[in-house]
């Protein structure tokens, strides 16, 4: 299975200026989780909107092939950013509504809807009105609706925004369980979401790919540029304003700073193993 994005370009006119939201974006994806990482305005949502057909593109092509099957639309599951629901629907109603939208039916639609809700741990709430759901439950329902019809391509746009830690872990686990035979595209600016589940990370900025590869590959690119040093509390702000600090942890007396720098920032600094967060700070500065 392969989803090939080739030379996607999209620009907007704002006032008299023309801004490129995506510029010659090319990427080939196979089964697994693809994490789109980038700051706000990097072009992640634009890319997703183009793949899902919500907006048009100025140039480029999208090609899908699954053993000769090129039907793209019926193999798409999508969870948009900031998703909400009809408060007077029950969870089961909503899944059945999505089934109707996707023209997907089974011999027993009720049972299928319950099966889908079971996969996101919402079976016991299937007949509750969505208006009574918590943020986490809604998010899981969002995932559930995306997997209706067992789509080959799953797209999640900022899926963990506003979730607590427990719900985020639950979300990541669900995504991992789905990814074996699907292309999962996960767009977020929360690095840890991607760090745990993504097979390939795509770094985007200003509508372009600025880096792509596995986490190890991306991390190795900044190897030797991540440092740790201990500083006094009154020096922390000074370091933060002058250098790219990816983390600051206090042990009471001192702060341990994680600094991204081409050269050794202070004598006492030691090189450490880079993480995906460091990679992001290296490329984007503050996200």
């Amino acid at each position: 299975m392969e989803l090939k994005l080739n030379g996607i370009t999209k620009s907007y006119t704002k006032g008299k200026k023309r801004k490129n939201a995506l510029e010659d974006f090319s990427l080939t994806m196979t089964e697994g989780v693809y994490g789109l990482l980038g700051p706000n305005g990097a072009g992640k949502s634009t890319l997703i909107n183009i793949i899902t057909g919500i907006i048009g593109r100025d140039n480029g092509s999208i090609a899908f092939d699954d053993n000769g099957n090129s039907d793209f639309v019926s193999h798409l599951g999508f969870m948009p950013q900031g998703m909400d629901f009809y408060r007077n629907f029950t969870a089961k109603d909503y899944i059945k509504y999505i089934m109707a939208l996707k023209k997907f039916s089974t011999e027993n639609d009720n049972e299928y809807a319950l099966d889908i809700l079971t996969r996101v741990n919402l079976r016991n709430d299937a007949d509750k009105k969505i208006g009574a759901f918590s943020g986490g439950m809604k998010q899981r329902l969002g995932i559930a609706q995306a997997i209706v019809g067992n789509p080959k391509i799953l797209i999640f746009d900022e899926p963990t925004a506003g979730l607590d830690a427990k719900e985020r872990i639950r979300f990541r686990n669900v995504i991992s369980s789905l990814a074996a035979d699907k292309i999962v595209i996960l767009a977020t600016h929360i690095v840890t979401d991607i760090a745990y589940v993504a097979k390939t990370v795509v770094l985007m900025d200003n509508g372009k790919i600025i880096g792509t590869g596995t986490q190890d590959e991306l991390c190795s690119a900044v190897k030797g540029k991540v440092w740790e040093c201990k500083v006094k509390p009154d020096e922390v702000m000074d370091y933060m304003s002058k250098m790219r600090v990816s983390n600051a942890v206090s042990d009471g007396e001192y702060y341990t700073l994680r600094i991204i720098s081409e050269d050794c920032p202070v004598k006492s600094a030691e090189q450490v193993q880079p993480t995906l967060e460091d990679v992001c700070i290296y490329h984007f500065g503050d996200m």
Binding site: I54, S70, F85, Y86, N88, K103
Partner: protein, 397 residues
């Protein structure tokens, strides 16, 4: 498609709050009937020194139905008797109270005068009125045939419509007359439409469902389902409120003689339509459906402008209020709001000049309303459709 239609109903209509609003507005409507009747009056009651007696009702019940010479002679004889009693100086006849004598002769005389001079005379002499109309039409045609062919054609249409008209029965049609001119229930339906459909697209945008619909490639089907839902709601509420109005007004005036011709109602003596009152009631519902479907489309279009349902409701009230306010300044045939009042459309010979041909207002106005509705629907479709997928590019490697 049918399933989507069902879900659109569920999204917008199957809500307890809507049911509560509907019930409350039905009660308000029934109260309005009472007030309308109070304003319009229940003709035929005579106040006597002995209290209120339904003398007019008794007379009406006695004389109503097929108009025969015998019945007319009876009426005239009765009127003569009362006039004689009054002429004799016996202003109050206290000895006899029966179904025709209240004891207060002036009141009794007014009752019989109203029946004979206003109601029976109208029905009985209606064929003569039509003969006069034809004569006037002939003069009109003669005058205009060389100088203004359009006006001459109008005269022809008026003349042709006036043939074979007669009112064979004597009856009262107050309930139908009020029904055909009753606009309050349409106003209620407009409120319901705003409440129900201002969230059609705004809610979808707010929940992100619009993006899911577009990603499934079902924006077109969903659009049609929404249109059908709105149309079904309009049809259902128009029928519901027509039934409530007929029952409500019929409660005060009765619903007899629905099979009689429309021109049996005095306000409709020059109606261009040779149809029964019952058909006019159905036609009135159809006109309202056209008008309210247009308003529904305006509301749906407004709902595409924002993701904030509250703002959409305010906008809807503002826009529709402005349209109502502007109504008097818009030609009737171009204004869908005209269709809410059936009386304006079919009580008189009103024509619209279409390429030199007179088209009756009751035909032109619904067609124009339909066209405007379709234009709005097209705009709505364009606004809610996703960018066209380059299908070949997407699907072929």
């Amino acid at each position: 498609m049918l399933k989507l239609f069902g879900y659109e109903f569920k999204k917008n209509i199957f809500k307890i709050s809507l049911l509560a609003l509907l019930l409350s507005l039905c009660l308000v409507n029934l109260y309005k009937h009472k007030e309308t009747v109070r304003y319009y009056g229940t003709s035929g009651y005579t106040i006597t020194m002995m209290g209120e007696r339904p003398l007019g009702e008794n007379m009406y019940n006695h004389f109503k139905g097929e108009l025969t010479s015998e019945k007319i002679n009876d009426m005239i004889a009765y009127q003569k008797k009362i006039e004689e009693l009054i002429a004799s100086g016996k202003y109050v006849q206290t000895e006899t109270y029966d179904e025709f004598f209240s004891g207060y002769l002036y009141g009794d005389r007014n009752c019989i005068r109203m029946i004979i001079d206003e109601e029976v005379k109208y029905a009985y002499l209606y064929p003569n009125t039509m003969i006069e109309l034809r004569q006037k039409s002939d003069e009109y045609i003669e005058f205009y045939k060389d100088i203004n062919p359009y006006e001459a054609k109008k005269g022809e249409l008026i003349k042709n419509a006036s043939y074979n008209r007669s009112i064979p029965v004597y009856g009262r049609y107050d309930a139908f007359s009020l029904f055909l001119d009753y606009e309050f229930s349409a106003f209620i339906i407009v409120i319901l439409l705003i409440f129900v459909f201002s969230s059609t697209y705004s809610n979808e945008k707010a929940t992100g469902t619009d993006r899911i619909i577009k990603s499934c490639g079902r924006a077109g089907s969903t659009f049609i389902a929404k249109q059908l839902t709105m149309l079904c709601f309009v049809v259902a509420t128009v029928i519901l409120f027509a039934i409530i109005d007929l029952i409500g007004l019929g409660f005060y005036y009765g619903l007899e003689f629905i099979e009689q011709p429309l021109y049996a109602i005095q306000d409709y003596q020059f109606t261009p339509l040779n149809i029964s009152i019952g058909t006019a009631v159905v036609l009135s519902c159809l006109f309202k459906i056209f008008a309210l479907a247009f308003i529904g489309e305006v509301i749906i279009l407004i709902s595409t402008l924002t993701k904030n349902t509250g703002a959409a409701i305010v906008l809807c009230f503002g826009v529709i209020g402005a349209m109502i306010f502007a109504s008097p300044y818009i030609p009737e045939h171009l204004n869908p709001f005209t269709l809410i009042s059936t009386k304006k459309l079919i009580s008189d010979f009103e024509f619209v000049n279409v390429l030199g041909n007179p088209v009756p207002l009751y035909i032109a106005a619904p067609i124009i309303a339909l066209l405007l509705t379709l234009i709005l629907a097209a705009v709505c479709y364009i606004r809610t459709s996703p960018a066209k997928r380059k299908a070949k590019e997407v699907r072929a490697v």
